[in-house]
Amino acid sequence: MSTTTELTETTLLRFATAGSVDDGKSTLVGRLLHDSKSVLTDQLEAVERASASRGQEGPDLALLTDGLRAEREQGITIDVAYRYFATAKRRFILADTPGHVQYTRNMVTGASTAELTVILVDARNGVVEQTRRHAAIAALLRVPHVVLAVNKMDLVGYEETVFAAIAEEFTAYASELGVPEITSIPISALAGDNVVEPSANMDWYGGPTFLEHLESVPVAHDLAHCHARLPVQFVIRPQTAEHPDYRGYAGQIAAGTFRVGDSVTVLPSGRTTKVTGIDLLGKPVAAAWTPQSVTLLLEDDIDISRGDLLVPTKDAPATTQDIEATVCHVADQPLTVGHRVLLKHGTRTVKAIVKDIPSRLTLDDLSLHPHPGQLVANDIGRVKIRTAEALPVDSYADSRRTGSFILIDPADGTTLTAGMVGESFASPEPVKDESEDDGWDF
């Protein structure tokens, strides 16, 4: 193994997998970890031992990823797990999410931090309901890059026409949902075709292997058109002899770029001041951008505390107490109209009430079910929420960080719901909610 290349700093790609139960997701993940030499000898030995004790002939690579007793007992994945591997070009964090339809919340969890989602289909079956669900969730979460991995090409004679038809159908569907970038790759996870090594069986395919694509997809942020946002996490005041007057506003930049000299506004108070300095973890810099953790120093000593949002004065979002959003309900207890909850947005947590649930999305056909009355675990729907204090929210389409929120049960602290502010993706055939004039446009 070459070490010189591994020892330099590389970039980091966070990606998530999605796939149905039998379409070979575990095999793909196992193949990726194995062929990139990320499975070490003792891990493989442990898997071999466990497989043998269960009477299995070969090592069951799914045991590499099923970490809990209950998962191994039932032979299923019940929760998101995070995997780590590296190549000479890049470091990867893989959110390995279960494929069952009842685990929609887990795919949402994995996709919320992912820059790329892999949707796996079985080449023999092509695009099925589950594929459409996964595409819809990737679109809903606005994952920047989507890979369609057409697996089990070995079982369809490595036929180009089979792959082309599936890729075309999927691309048409996902594009209509608003998925910005789709890359289709024909693979066999079992045989290793086009996963890490190019396939000798598919001369007709001229694109990258799965791993090559993961290594080369851009992770840099194009900040030219981004609204700059800094949720204030903590006010740093040393009050020491060395730093008697230091007062810094610490936070992770949620979007865009801040520069020394920028005119900024504090929300929700609306006061305006100027950035006089930026400390990047102890070192002064002239500019900083998402997702750097920084400390801003400001010209005026105005009242700013945790929960406030710093934004450019010329590009401030409106504040509102009435939020309309698409949500995915992630808790076992239902979300109902009239439910009193806590809403965490950025670094601010406020009281809120669920005023209305206008519709629930049926993921199978993307049709809307009007006024479902409640959302249960794994449901995706539209909600209207009234907050106790005004919040500076962006549309999720503009900013994944400042356009997202979670709802929390004030009684026991359960995370109830993941929310995305504003309009969502367009349905291929928009179904109007007839009971309301302003039918929600999914």
Binding site: T11, L40, D66, I78, T109, Q233, T257, I406
Partner: protein
């Protein structure tokens, strides 16, 4: 090595790329600041091992130029390496920190805990740890656990709720969405917080090298009297080794992890510098724990079972 501005990306032509170490550092700092903003009595578990040393370094950067708004807690098994305890005390003094020590030996002396037949004290840490958390009313407890260490840890959340008995229920974890961490807890409950969740062993070492962080000497190759037990080189000492049939020999070794002397093994090594250590780890075909931790080999679910009881 650049730390803030990576090369302009060829694909996009934008300079707004972070290196993987900068991304991980930024995320960890965000986690420290969230805890400082949302909890009353946070504490950092500090053993003098490399992961807790990196945590402390990140916390210092997160609140600079102010002091860290947390205290430290060490669960002393009574079988710790003297070099590590010396490092611990020196570091605490240098940064003017407050250190709590919960002692396994105390519990054994008082008859509350009983020495195990195999002499391993790692599992005995759970009671002193959880009792000290309850006694001091700590509501957030930072641990250096990484998801790459072990498959049960791969399922761990960044903010992980523990009930009033400090128990972990992996089937009832809160989903973590975006970077919106939910730290709500009832009185008596606490949250374990893992800022290094997304780091690997190699990331930790690369970061130590980049930041020039000082480590206890036992991480580097040195001559030491060791004996072989269950395939691992253990340090001879009053804790209970060697026994009959085990012979002591002098070897050049170093440690990949630092824990209780009774179950932390050394590896043969001639890596005396950070660069040499990194090269050695990058080429190793064994995981950190697989190579040097006996307690994880006890059963297929050893880590999950201990974590359920409150182990960190």
């Amino acid at each position: 090595m650049t730390t803030t501005v990576a090369a302009v990306s060829e694909e996009t032509g934008t300079p707004y790329t972070l290196s993987h170490l900068d991304s991980l550092e930024s995320e960890a700092v965000h986690i420290f600041r969230e805890v400082a903003g949302e909890f009353e009595r946070p504490v950092i578990l500090f053993s003098g091992g490399k992961d807790s040393i990196v945590m402390l370094h990140l916390a210092l950067k997160a609140f600079a130029p102010a002091a860290i708004p947390f205290t430290l807690l060490h669960v002393d098994t009574g079988h710790n390496f003297p070099e590590v305890l010396e490092y611990r005390d020196r570091t605490v003094a240098r940064h003017g920190l407050r250190l709590h020590v919960a002692s396994v030996q105390d519990y054994i002396d008082r008859g509350v805990l009983r020495e195990r037949p195999d002499g391993t004290r790692n599992p005995l840490q759970t009671v002193p740890l959880t009792e000290r958390i309850q006694a001091e009313k700590f509501d957030a407890v930072f641990g250096g656990g990484r998801r790459d260490e072990e498959k049960a840890r791969a399922k761990e959340r960044v903010f992980s709720l523990r009930d009033e008995f400090s128990q972990w229920d992996p089937r009832r974890q809160r989903p973590e969405l975006w970077n919106l961490y939910n730290g709500r807890h009832a009185p008596g409950e606490h949250v374990r917080v893992f800022p290094l969740s997304n780091w690997t062993e190699l990331d930790v070492w690369q970061y130590i090298a980049r930041e020039g962080i000082e480590l206890p000497e036992i991480y580097f190759a040195h001559e030491r009297e060791v004996f072989m037990r269950a395939g691992m080189w253990l340090t001879a000492g009053e804790w209970g080794g060697p026994k009959d049939g085990e012979t002591v020999e002098k070897r050049q070794v170093r440690y990949r992890t630092v824990g209780d002397m009774s179950c932390t093994g050394a590896v043969d090594s001639d890596a005396t510098t950070l660069d040499a250590v990194i090269t050695e780890i990058a080429a190793s075909r064994l995981t950190e724990r697989g190579a040097t931790r006996a307690d994880d080999k006890m059963s297929e679910a050893a880590m999950e079972d201990r974590k359920r009881e409150g182990y960190f």
